[in-house]
Structure formats: C-alpha cells, structure tokens
C-alpha cells in the first residue's frame, strides 16, 4: 500500500505539465483578483481582500488540482483497464483511495504555499507564525476531502461524462462555498446552504485563523464528515466496480 502511495506521488511529480499549471494557477489568480484591492475590511467581516483571498485562493487552487486532476485521471485509468488489473491484487479499496489522496496532496501542497508566499511578498500580508502554519496545514489537510471526492467522481462517471460532472461539482462548490467572493455579500439563503458545504468549512478553517481564533469545531466536523463520506464511497465504488470500463 505504501508502495502504491509512493508510486502515485512519483507519477504526479513526473507529470511536469500538470504539476506546473496546478501550482502556478492559484497564486496567479490570487494576484489578479486580490492584486488591486485596497485594505479596507470586506463588508460584514473583519478581514480585508488580501487576507480573505489568500485563504480562499489557496483553497480554490488546492481543490482544482485534486478534484479535477483526480477524477479525470481515474476515469481514464478505468477506461484503460489499469484499475481492473489493480483489483486483481491484494490491495484493499482504502489503499487505492489513500494512494490517490496522497498523490493529490503532493500537488496541492506547493500551490498552497505559493499562494501564501505571494500574499506575504506582494500584498504585504502579515500574520503570526502559528497562523501561517495553521493555515497551511489546515488548507492542505482539508484538500484531502476534495481529493476523495475526485476519486469518487472518477468512479461514478465514465470517459466523456467525467469532465462536465466534475466541473459542475467544482464550480457549484467553489461558488457556494464562498471561494470566489465573500459569502457575506450574497443573499441570506445562499449563505444558509453554504454553511453546510465542504468548501465553506474548508475556507472557514483559514479565515478563522486569520481572525485570530482557532478553527471552529463545527467546520472541522463538517470536513471530517465529508472526508469519511467521500473516501468511504470511493473505496466502495472501487471494489464494486464490475462494469467493463
């Protein structure tokens, strides 16, 4: 099982094109969106644009890399028959899911760090050392949830359908979770739904820390719940996959 995780990580690192865009894209987007913003607090929040977007773009970038990357590659691997071959080994379903999450996490970590570096260097974001560390760790660990979702989608959808399905999940989650714009400027009913989405809880980890407090237990609970749901579902689908794909 550890060999598979190692191998998946090696593969991810060898895929230079994928690596480059996944890593470069979030900090670039961060600078474009938050670049021209002033340092006034966002309405209804204590944070300014530079701070808010640092967390949401780090989250967004990590999510892009792991969710879209995972689902498409898995659907492709199923089509090629590699997953069929893998199912003939003693590898348990959770091993497969763990390996895919591990590979995704390898890609997401540098992109998270780059967004934070860009925020500090260009936007002059200053935080306590513990805040930097907890934001990085929280965003990184939180990305596992979306990696697991990516694995599950890769199993639910085949070939042509996987891209639209993962894109739809991705945009809905990113928008409703407040990764693109602060939720406080959206209608109340959107905010009510958003509160229970993994993306909202994900970004909330970081914003809570930026505000000077520890992440809320509720958000961590929501993320953990989704992680168990997605990873369990993905492992189940891996073993149950009796289609020809």
């Amino acid at each position: 099982m550890t060999t598979l995780i190692k191998l998946e990580i090696v593969r991810a690192l060898r895929n230079k094109k994928f690596m480059f865009f996944s890593v470069i894209y979030p900090p670039a987007l961060y600078l474009i969106i938050a670049g021209g913003a002033d340092s006034k607090p966002i309405p209804g929040m204590k944070l300014d644009m530079g701070l808010y977007y640092m967390v949401s773009m780090a989250a967004f970038g990590a999510m892009t890399a792991v969710l879209l990357g995972n689902s498409e590659r898995i659907a492709k691997e199923r089509e090629q028959g590699w997953v069929r071959q893998l199912r003939l080994t003693a590898l348990p379903g959770r091993g497969y899911v763990a390996a895919k999450i591990g590979a995704a996490a390898t890609v997401s970590l540098p992109s998270i760090l780059l967004v934070m570096i860009a925020a500090a260097a260009v936007k002059g974001v200053r935080l306590e050392a513990w805040q930097w560390l907890s934001i990085a760790a929280g965003t990184w660990l939180g990305s596992f949830v979306f990696a697991a979702l990516g694995v599950a989608i890769g199993y639910l959808a085949t070939g042509d359908a996987v891209r639209p399905i993962s894109m739809l999940c991705f945009f809905a989650l990113a928008f409703l979770g407040g990764l693109w714009m602060p939720l406080t400027i959206l209608p109340q009913w959107v905010q009510n739904i958003a509160e229970w989405l993994p993306t909202h809880a994900y970004a909330a980890l970081g914003t809570a820390v930026e505000g000077g407090s520890a992440p809320h237990v509720k958000d961590m609970g929501i993320l953990l719940g989704y992680l168990i749901l997605f990873a369990g579902g993905a492992a189940w689908l891996y073993r149950k996959d009796t289609r020809k794909a």
């Binding site: 590699w82 071959q85 003693a90 590898l91």
Partner: protein
Amino acid sequence: MVSFQGVSKSYGAVRAVADLHLELHPGETVALLGPNGAGKSSTLDLLLGLRTADTGTVSLFGTTPQRAIEQGKVGAMLQSGGLMEGVKVKELVGLARDLHPRGYPLDRILATAGITEIADRMVGKLSGGQEQRVRFALATAGANDLIVLDEPTTGMDVSARQTFWGAMRRQAQEGRTVLFATHYLEEADEIADRVIVLHRGRVLADGTSAEIKARAGARRVTFDLDEPIDRGALEALPLLTSLEVSGRTVRIQSQDADATVHALYGLGLYPRNLEVAGLGLEQAFIAITTASDATPATAEEAAR
C-alpha cells in the same frame, strides 16, 4: 479449488455464460478453448470476481473470488488489463511484488518474465509484446496457487510466444494450477493437460486434448475405390463419425481407424492409396462446435 456451480451471466439479451458447471483441480494446466464470443472472458471475469454471476456460485479455494485474491492465491493476466502509465517497468513490477502477501524478489520476477533488459523503460513506451510480458510479470509477482491468463500471447511473435510458454510451463511444474483462455488451438494442444471447449457459454467438451480429438472422430481415413461405390455399405462401417464421397475418393473420420479399415477389407473391398492421418485439435474443435450448432444448444432454444 476452482468451482462453478450452475453459473449464468447475461448482458441484456445476450447470454454470455449459461448454467456453467466446472471444477479445477490443483496442479492442472487447463485451456479454455472457444471461438470469439464463446464466453471465455466472461467466465474468467466471473472467476476473478470482476463481475458477479446472475445465478449460481463461483468459489475459489473454498471462499469468494475476492477473498482468495486478497489472500494472494491468484495471479491474473487480463486481455484488457491496462498498465499504469508514467512509471518505469521495474517500479510497476515492484508495486505488484509489494502488494502480494508472498512476493518474490524483484530480480527474479523480471528474469522469469524476460523483462530484465526493459526494466528501466517507461511503461507507456513499450511494444505490444513487451506489455504482455509486463502483464505476465504482474501476474507472477508472488507465490500464487492459481494463475489465470486471458489470451496471453495476443500480440506476441512466434519466438516470444515460445519463451512465454516456457515460462508458463515452469510455473506449472512448480505445482501451480494454470488456467488460460485461448483461441489458438495449437497452444491448447501443446500446453494444456486438460482442454475445456466452451461454446455459447456452455461446456461442450472437457478432457485431455486426445480425448477431445477422439470425441470428434480422431482419425481421418482416405482411400480410392475402383468399383462402383456402395455408400450404404460404407455408412455401416463401425465407429464412423463422418463420410464423404467425391468421385472415387472416399474420406472417412473414425474414432478407431484400425477397426474401420479392418471392416473395410471385411466388406470385400480393395481400397487403394490408403492414408490414415491424425485429426488436429483444430478439426476436432470445428467438428464439435458445428455438431453443437446443428442441434439446439439449450433447452430454451429448443422451446422456441
């Protein structure tokens, strides 16, 4: 150790496997022989737990296919088994070794499969035959009790094929049970000590290749006759399975050529240019499957 009890599997209206009963015993090398669409791959998929049967049960080593695979008792090489891309051959084989509860040393696996020279190559850059050898390495990365191969020599040239079967024989000599699907009759004839002929998802014949040939009428007898040919008398010859008369030439298939020829002289005939030849498995195979096509294959087809 491998047991199919009344197993059926349909895809929509197509009945791929129909009420299959099958038992494999330890140490056998068994060929699953049949034309395309006979149900070979479906049977292997069911055996490996990649598909679930509509009815009946499949058991491996007294347990479910999935459990047997998790215990590392089965190695398999699939026709459609893709390989992981973006890794080196030795990394992929190392993965199979590490996943196996009783994996062999990497060098040994590579040598057995004949891929030591390409160990450092990227998996995506292999030829078809090389890919097949890598798949074989994945199937034999540990101490399995059963090896399942679905048309393993597809895409291999003649010499690669020979090397492959050499390696396979060694696996069998080490006491493993080997089950392979093929439509190459000579492979079944040469390698297997038991041949199961599958047709329309059913077992049509099951025995040694000599027995299969005997069942189809194992010997072919050809001769010329001068006098006007009395077809009725020839048809009455003992152990005859087919008769063909063209001009003065008579072609007979017989289960016992000696007895048939003896009876021929007994009729007072003087056959000239007498030739007795063994029937290849291929002809036997065609004889068996055509005979089956002529008669309704299943009860429900008869009811139609």
